[in-house]
């Protein structure tokens, strides 16, 4: 997660640098009174590299996916995070039909 942040920040810096160099380039074009056809070549490279880094960071930084299958190993125990005295286990008994109207015969 730390690495992802660093990569994302580097990507952000590259994009910002490309923005600055494009602004400068436009200023020069205004002085020379030429048309703007596209940012300078190194700015384009910076944009693409920045896009790649941010793509990677944007996918790696958010938490990883948690399995939703009931029989995967990480879903065996469901417990309250604050109190480990109470543990609930995922088991196949949940699939059995249960009749909520059954009354306890005392």
């Amino acid at each position: 997660m730390g690495l992802g942040f660093v990569v994302g920040i580097i990507g952000g810096f590259l994009i910002a640098h490309a923005a600055f160099s494009t602004i400068q380039y436009r200023g020069e074009l205004k002085i020379m009174e030429e048309q703007f056809t596209g940012p300078p070549f190194n700015a384009v490279i910076e944009l693409l590299v920045g896009l790649g880094l941010c793509l990677w960071a944007g996918l790696a930084v958010p938490t990883k996916f948690l399995s939703i299958l009931p029989h995967s190993d990480e879903n065996r125990v469901v417990s309250l995070p604050a109190n480990l005295d109470f543990m609930v286990f995922n088991h196949r008994g949940k699939v059995l039909p249960s009749n909520p109207d059954l009354k306890l015969k005392i």
Partner: protein, 113 residues
């Protein structure tokens, strides 16, 4: 308490699904797509895209994001989501508005002011 039943009619769908995890898996997708829409918008603005080209660029970025999300789910959406649509299509239209906002913002800063 923490897990609930979710029954389904299709035979190959697991009858019990951990719905907590299912919902919490939506968050990384949403965050990733929003962040990448913003970054894509800034890049489109700096590059100077106007009109149709910009939207094409947005869909290219979203395609790359979908591929990345599918890879993050280890290409088996069934273990993390209830359908492939969630991985591949969710959040694209919402991100489009963020993209256009930052696209016009960056374009104005770089090319107009």
């Amino acid at each position: 308490m923490a897990t609930q039943d979710k029954r389904s009619d299709t035979s190959d769908f697991p009858e019990i699904v951990n719905t907590d995890n299912l919902q919490s898996n939506m968050k990384p997708i949403y965050y990733s797509r929003t962040f990448l829409s913003i970054i894509g918008g800034v890049i489109a603005g700096i590059w100077g895209f106007t009109g149709f080209t910009g939207f094409v660029f947005y869909f290219v970025v979203m395609l790359a994001a979908s591929f990345g999300l599918a890879a993050k789910a280890k290409f088996s959406a069934d273990s993390y989501f209830d359908s492939w649509n969630r991985v591949l299509l969710d959040g694209i239209l919402g991100g489009l508005m963020s993209f256009v906002l930052f696209w016009t913002f960056a374009y104005d800063i770089v090319h107009i002011f």
